[in-house]
Symmetry: none
Subunit: 195 residues, 4 copies
DNA sequence: GATGAATGAGCTTTCATTCAT
DNA sequence: AATGAATGAAAGCTCATTCAT
């Protein structure tokens, strides 16, 4: 049972792009390099993607889709809001730690885009953001979270914090365990730093 | 008594670049456009900068230097750690809110760089990061902050959170006040979300 | 049955380059001029040649190859050494007299190159030089030539002499017949000037 | 008693150019490099030379003038024609062997010029060529040389032969003694190769 | 659908030359 | 006369995209 509606070459190109982008960065990656990596002709790329930039955005949307699916699978209603938040952070960190190419692309290459692309990315991230919002609101409702914070602001602070931790780990050369940061990160989100 | 050692044209080019980068993004900005904006000949750029990328990094370092100076001026030892942290957030948000070109360049264009450049940027950011670290450590010492959190992790979470808030505000089209987010942001950093 | 392994465009570009180089000189010939002359796009040049200089060296090697083939066809073992030498001079002079573009490129443009390129050219000339050496050695063996001269020196003196005669004829504006110089030239090589 | 009518800087620039041209070749030598080598400002060059090419031709003419003077000094009427020819070859080889920078410029860089410049060089070489012609004619008159050769052709063959020997020695990396070639060279010119 | 040769617009960078001081 | 900062034209080369096969 396969759920993929797109032809194999579509995914082959995306996987090639993932590798090439991760190695060279978006702007330094030639379409012909991606084609070679994917085992197709240069022209074939343009049967599946309108322009080079489309490869980048499609890559992101596919990968994000996979991630969101993993988040959805990883969460369930029995969990407390805190547990859910921790699960989200766990998946976020471990998925990127386990797929270094993907980490490069999401943390570095995907930022190499102009404002329009950034907006599109923001749109694609929406589902993930909403997921965090839902957790925050659930926590508010069941009394495990404070009720006097702005959900939209805090979801940015939480996402931004995690994002920075991943980027910093990546740039440092992955010298330490990223997943080991899950517990202290959630601890900060829950209690802050005030004594 | 002027502290600027560099010739006027150096700064003219940087200002031109700031505007052009903000409008078009780094990769879509031609050197000749920057030259025209700065009121110099194309070749003149190369008397002051080795290559195009150098304009971007120099721009960043100059602007960051100005910011750090503003942080330094804005802080004093009478402040509590919390007040200092709030001041940092205030300056961070208000400076970028007050200089939309700079905001574009720092939040969008500067990310358009490969890993090596990102490392260089990380290095330049060090002074700002250290400033946040110092505040955290001061808070730990004087008892106003908890002592059981990792300074290096929390500084990333704080910086990343603020950074994401700025980027989100920018991408949204600056539809709301960025400085209005200072108090709730600091509130989150201090108390977290746990009830 | 065609012996040419290279695509037509390869030769079209070389012929275009031959014309453009002869008219303007190597350094004053733009790649785009050559492309137009060859009836291809600028970029096509770079599918067949790595860089501009490669066009010059390839041109030289192709043309020299043709020349050497003509030398080989023109010579046979029945000839005396003197007849062979005369034949070489005849072909050398007549080929260049009959192809003024080629003459310009070999005598003028090809010298417009730095030491490294000159070495490469020297290497390519090797086959021609060897051919002269073989004639000299044959003459020594069969007794028609003296045996007390240095083959390697004399081949330089002979080649240099012919080369200078061609260049001089070219610079003078081809006001006289180059092939008419064959007999007196060979006469000098054979007998010298001593009475 | 100084015979130089030109200011010191004129010669300083020429000496700088000699060094820089020899090291990098004409086309790869920047005017600013020559200025620095000569210890003058870039603009100063243009007080003494109209354009870059003028430096090359002036250099050649000055140096050739010195050479011709040396030839004139080295020759005297007591010499036989053969002795004179040998002296010319001796000076030609030894001067270039003793001044490697000059050798590079005359044998390699000076050839890097278009047809117009080549004509000008030919004109400047005239005095040297005439000198060889005079020797040939003297030999014809006094009976030491044959009378049935064309002076204009033979002077080319002699000059071209010597020139090629020098270039070959230079390109080979000066691995052997150039002056050691004087005797066998003259021997070839006098007797040819016929047994 | 697939190919890959061909295209040609586009841009950074160099450097000979100028000219205000 | 001397300077050297400034100029800006010029061109080699790349590479995303097309299209005939």
């Amino acid at each position: 049972m396969t759920s993929s509606k797109k032809p194999d070459k579509y995914y082959a190109i995306l996987e090639g792009a993932l590798k090439v982008f991760a190695e060279n960065g978006y702007h330094k990656s030639q379409v012909s390099r991606i084609a070679k990596e994917a085992g197709v002709a240069d022209g074939t790329i343009y049967l599946y993607f309108k322009k080079k930039e489309d490869i980048l955005t499609s890559l992101f949307q596919e990968k994000l889709g996979e991630l969101v699916e993993k988040f959805t699978q990883g969460l369930n209603n029995q969990m407390t809001a805190k547990e859910a938040l921790q699960k989200v952070c766990e998946i976020h960190f471990s998925e990127l730690e386990g797929n270094i190419h993907l980490a490069y692309v999401t943390q570095i290459e995907l930022r190499q885009s102009d404002l329009d692309l950034r907006k599109e990315i923001g749109l694609a991230l929406k589902r993930y953001i909403v997921l965090i919002e839902n957790i925050l609101e659930k926590g508010k409702r069941d009394g495990s979270f404070r009720t006097d914070f702005d959900v939209k602001l805090v979801r940015l602070l939480i996402f931004g914090g995690m994002d920075e931790v991943v980027t910093s780990w990546l740039i440092s050369g992955q010298k330490y365990s990223l997943t080991a940061q899950v517990i202290p990160t959630i601890d900060f989100f829950m209690k802050g730093i005030e004594s």
